[in-house]
């Protein structure tokens, strides 16, 4: 019909879809799922990093980490707002998260065991997230694209801070250097898996491409990430834990080893080291915060009633 044709034409012309525009239900649903997953990832992601705020080893690092975690909360806010432009409430999205029906990035189901993890999350996890997210800045849905532009800017800043944190540790004592290497060993493979299953096993991607929501394939993004990470690791002085990693002159890219997809799917399906902890912690915070939210609502209603009475 005409609406569908107009929508298709905007997509073909690489123009933006805005909240007031007509859109196919499947497009709307795909966006709600993707934006809310991203929002949930931001707020669940506050847990593993938040784990080190109280123990940050210097006041400067404590302040940087606090600011970063605060930014993540802010990203959550923008993204829930972007999702709300698609006609779904933040409460409904949170309910789905708390009921275990919505996903969030699996990477946050790993624990942060040392201070170096804070730096490695900045460098590798945020780095991978940026690779995934930069193409979304050109996403067809306006509010999402605009939220992502702001988020990517802040994420790049976080990534540089993470790298700088690791650099300072690599210039430090032997114990600090060992801490960085051990952390890289633990995070590297799960980060590679963040780009999602190989293209051959990723059937949903085609429609996302068609709609201008997804713009680069999982494997292409992963390759780009590996190519960018190798020289950064060299400058840092850490070894990436992949014996098969080497430059392929012919392809003009690095070859890399096989990813353990069984491990990836185990974590996605709820059996990672911290899946239960992360979700239960969210649920606990929400449940224990109920009385606070109720108080704010009750007070606002009382205020309103008083204002009406005075006006009467």
């Amino acid at each position: 019909d005409a609406l569908q044709q107009a929508f298709d034409a905007r997509i073909d012309a690489d123009a933006r879809i805005e909240p007031q525009d007509w859109m196919p239900e499947a497009y709307r649903k795909t966006l709600v799922r993707q934006i809310s997953q991203h929002a949930h990832s931001e707020i669940i992601g506050m847990q593993p990093e938040g784990n080190w705020i109280s123990r940050a080893p210097s006041l400067k690092r404590k302040a940087i980490l606090l600011a970063k975690v605060q930014d993540e909360g802010g990203h959550g806010l923008y993204l829930y707002s972007a999702a709300e432009t698609l006609g779904v409430s933040r409460d409904a999205l949170l309910d789905a998260l708390h009921a275990g029906k919505a996903k969030y990035s699996s990477i946050f189901n790993y624990p942060t065991l040392t201070w170096a993890d804070v730096g490695v999350i900045g460098w590798l996890v945020d780095g991978a997230a940026i690779m995934n997210q930069v193409p979304i800045c050109r996403c067809s849905y306006g509010p999402y694209a605009r939220a992502m532009i702001r988020i990517c800017k802040e994420e790049s800043f976080h990534q540089r801070q993470g790298y700088e944190n690791l650099m300072a540790m690599m210039k430090g004592t032997a114990a600090q250097r060992a801490m960085v290497q051990e952390s890289v060993n633990r995070w590297y493979w799960p980060v590679l898996a963040m780009f999602g299953p190989p293209d051959a096993d990723s059937p949903n991607s085609a429609l996302g491409m068609r709609w201008g929501i997804k713009r680069i394939s999982n494997d292409d993004l992963r390759q780009k990430f590996v190519d960018a990470t190798v020289p950064q690791a060299a400058i840092l002085g850490v070894t990436l834990p992949d014996p098969d990693l080497k430059w392929n002159e012919e392809r003009g890219h690095h070859d890399y080893g096989a990813i353990d997809w069984d491990d990836f799917w185990a974590v996605v399906n709820g059996n990672g080291p911290c899946n239960k902890e992360r979700l239960a912690t969210r649920v606990q915070a929400h449940r224990e915060g109920q009385w606070v939210r109720d108080a704010a609502l009750a007070h606002a209603r009382k205020q309103q009633a008083r204002a009406l009475k005075e006006a009467a």
Binding site: P57, G172, A285, G289, A295
Partner: protein
């Protein structure tokens, strides 16, 4: 032509207040009652850590001896800390150091209000400290603490004038914490020295305005002002509760695992 500087003990008192309360407020990260409050509490904590850094840097410069902001924050023991006892208490009612209880946002809000209303007036007064560096820090801190006070005051009113449960929680937190504010109005040796040389603020001069602010907020929140008598804490003289040891043990654990390391 040495510049006038406040006594180091006084600067540490101010810095320790900011650090310890910043450490406590940051504990809400990822556990707040609503996302906006996670962000607000991180923001308040960040301001406080920032104030602590400026104050420790200044104290380190005054003290010399190779002291740094981090040596002062991470390598002093509990009894060298000079913060008000109020600021080190956990986010729940009175319990022994080994007890565990859920964090209570009413306790957090009431403490931030009681201390914020004091800190606002203290920083106001310190803007005219004869220690020029301290006066500059005060000017900056004042802007921040205005926001902290508004935030906690707004929530105090919401809680007091909210539901029966929120009212009861706010009142319980007030009953628990108000006695600790008695410490604001004693003058420690460090404070006396700072007042005498014109670098410090006399807390007793701040009391009437603090009292009025408290009464006004409680009236709006429909809360009752408890007597507030009882044990007079002496945290700013180094005599703390059982809680500070745990707070510092956790805060300093990593830094002390790697003595001499730079981060």
């Amino acid at each position: 032509m040495a510049a006038t500087t406040a006594p180091p003990g006084y600067l540490l008192h101010l810095a320790d207040n900011a650090l310890v309360l910043g450490q406590r407020n940051a504990e809400w990260c990822a556990h707040g009652p609503v996302l906006e409050e996670d962000i607000a509490m991180a923001n308040i904590s960040l301001d406080l850590i920032g104030q602590a850094r400026m104050l420790y840097q200044h104290a380190a410069a005054v003290q010399g001896d190779g002291a740094t902001e981090d040596s002062l924050a991470y390598f002093r023991d509990q009894q060298e800390f000079r913060n008000f006892t109020l600021l080190e208490l956990p986010h729940h009612g009175p319990l022994a150091g080994t007890a565990v209880a859920p964090r209570d946002y009413a306790t957090t809000i009431v403490r931030n209000f009681l201390y914020g209303a004091f800190a606002l007036r203290q920083w106001e007064a310190l803007q005219s400290s004869r220690d020029a560096q301290l006066a500059a820090i005060a000017a900056r801190a004042l802007k921040e603490v205005k926001y902290h006070l508004r935030h906690s005051r707004d929530w105090l009113v919401r809680m007091g004038d909210g539901t029966d449960e929120s009212h009861a929680r706010a009142q319980a937190a007030l009953d628990h914490l108000l006695p600790y504010t008695q410490e604001f109005w004693t003058v420690s040796a460090d404070e006396a020295a700072a007042i005498a040389d014109g670098t410090g603020a006399d807390p007793l001069a701040l009391r009437p305005a603090w009292d009025s602010e408290l009464d006004a907020a409680l009236a709006q929140a429909t809360l009752r002002r408890p007597a507030g008598h009882g044990y007079l804490p002496r945290g700013k003289q180094g005599l703390h509760s059982e809680h500070l040891g745990y707070l510092l043990g956790e805060m300093q654990s990593l830094a002390r695992q790697h003595p001499g390391a730079t981060w």
